[in-house]
Symmetry: C2
Subunit: 340 residues, 2 copies
């Protein structure tokens, strides 16, 4: 098996940095768009054979070193008692605002309520045949709570922050329930065959360091700790985390994801040299740069990764839908040719 | 005159931290909404008597320690050759994409092309009668360039970044022209009576530290340097700047604005203890917190400000339109009662 990704996560020696791309199964790929003509996004997430198929597309097309399950961070929210539609961003049929709303949230056995997630993982492990490892994922509790309290995407996150500031007990009760549900959800993914997991804390960067310390990190850390005995590498990725590195220093994952804002060597210093880092080319470089610019910028990231305890090449955020597939191919090729 | 604000900017001793609020003349004030029923936003910006009137409203209502000219960062873009509409965000009639587009940009004498800005300042200095100092402002060049290249607001800023990555000479030529125009625009404000200036780099936080070093800081710094001899305090505010503090350390302003993400004491350490800091209460605390929470959080910011070379209390970003005016009053009162 190509275990370059798993080895880099564990800080073991590799011939070159492994690469995968956040949202690598997505709209920039013509073969993905072809499948989306047949079915909408939610149906795709809930059809294991098709979810597995799009998960494998970028492995075939780009030759990346890891697959990541095609799914959505809101999948585990539905069995908690919410109806979700996309318009085009997610919209929940109701929002959490009171302790009663929190009490109404159901904790289920995800193998029973979202079996398609686990079936997709089992199919993928068979179909990948060890070509590359499979990454599972979930949202971190604070990030999932933002959707559940705002009821949809948000600009200022004033409702979820309002709950934290004015009803902290309710906010903590919600985060507690999400944490329990997410532990089950991810343990199930590992049991089904996920060989690594990434916790996406996409909105944590909107919090002050103080609020992150109270409302985000402890819950993410609990999940990461719970997963420790499962023995798979754990990646913690908080977008826009430059003001949070002193808190993330103790997150307990093997890998910390970094967006494009900070040089990886600087991030490594601030994190105390404890983590393999994942990242961090600016997705707009991949969208708009010439192949020469993409290669040059990619090699800078590879060079910054040389001094780290481990480096997994990735973008600093998801690949943009308008990105030419040739740009993604040029990137993967550049990293493949970079000898560590 | 109440010169608490100017003294704090200069790092002189003050009885308590001065306070003003970004967007303090705005929709959260009923008296502002009343005027906006009579005229649209652009007309208000271009009618000096009315712009002066709304500028003074928060001084009367809240008792803040500084006034900031009511205007818009896109005002100087119109005489450069663009038509701007609001829908509700700004939309330009054309976008800058080529060197020819940059060549077509006009540099004018702003006293002739946007005289209403300077007239509003002169009216304000008369009407304020020394009650509080008047702050002028402009966007920093990178931030203004984003609007001129994107043609409107943006989520990923892929067009302006694309120009930087693929046509850096064009991007630099654009930034150069904006810098010259902004120097004239701000020098005119000081000449008309502005007693301090703030440079808003609202979108700089979207840049990596490396790109900020090349495309943002040098141009902002040139403007700040040009204004040095004018003798008024200069404030540089880049939202979301935690990854940029090592670059901002040499910005050459008297005051650095900080958003709500980072503790002010930590920011001061990272900036080498060289600057008075302005900030940094989370605007969502003011929106959603109880008066007790607002007071408690405000006093924490005041406490963090005690060890700084100077502290001007502000929010970490503009006051949100839905904020109850009583919350803003509670905040100002809390800061007024905090003895430094």
């Amino acid at each position: 098996m190509n275990d370059r990704f798993l080895r880099a996560c564990r800080g073991e020696k590799v011939d070159r940095p492994p690469i995968w791309i956040m949202r690598q199964a997505g709209r920039y790929l013509p073969e993905y768009r072809a499948i989306r003509k047949e079915m909408d996004f939610v149906t795709l997430c809930k059809t294991p054979e098709k979810a597995a198929e799009v998960t494998i597309q970028p492995i075939d097309r780009l030759g990346v070193d890891a697959a990541i399950l095609f799914s959505d961070i809101l999948v585990p929210v539905e069995p908690m008692g919410f109806k979700i539609s996309f318009n085009p961003g997610p919209v929940l049929d109701h929002a959490v605002r009171t302790m009663q709303d929190v009490d109404n949230i159901r904790i289920t056995e995800p193998e029973e309520t979202v079996p398609y997630v686990y079936e997709a993982i089992r199919i993928l492990r068979r179909e990948l045949e060890g070509r590359v490892p499979l990454i599972g994922f979930a949202a971190a509790p604070f990030t999932l709570a933002t959707y559940m309290v705002e009821g949809q995407g948000s600009k200022n996150f004033s409702k979820v922050k309002g709950l934290m500031f004015s009803e902290p007990a309710t906010a903590h009760a919600l985060l507690e329930k999400i944490t329990v549900a997410t532990e089950k959800y991810l343990m199930g993914q590992i049991k089904a065959g996920a060989q690594a997991v990434q916790l996406f804390d996409s909105w944590a960067g909107l919090l002050s360091a103080e609020d992150f310390r109270e409302f985000a990190m402890p819950y993410a850390r609990r999940i990461l700790d719970t997963l420790q005995d499962a023995g798979v590498p754990r990646i913690y990725f908080a977008l826009n985390n430059a003001h949070l590195l002193e808190e993330i220093k103790d997150c307990g994952a093997e890998v910390v994801g970094m967006d494009w804002r900070m040089d990886l060597a600087e991030a490594n210093r601030r994190l105390g040299g404890r983590y393999a880092l994942q990242g961090n080319l600016d997705p707009t470089v991949l969208l708009s740069g010439s192949p020469d610019t993409i290669r040059e910028r990619a090699l800078k990231v590879v060079a910054a990764g040389r001094g780290l305890p481990g480096h997994i090449f990735n973008l600093g955020h998801g690949i943009l839908p308008e990105t030419p597939v040739e740009h993604a191919q040029a990137l993967v090729q550049a990293v493949q040719e970079a000898v560590r």
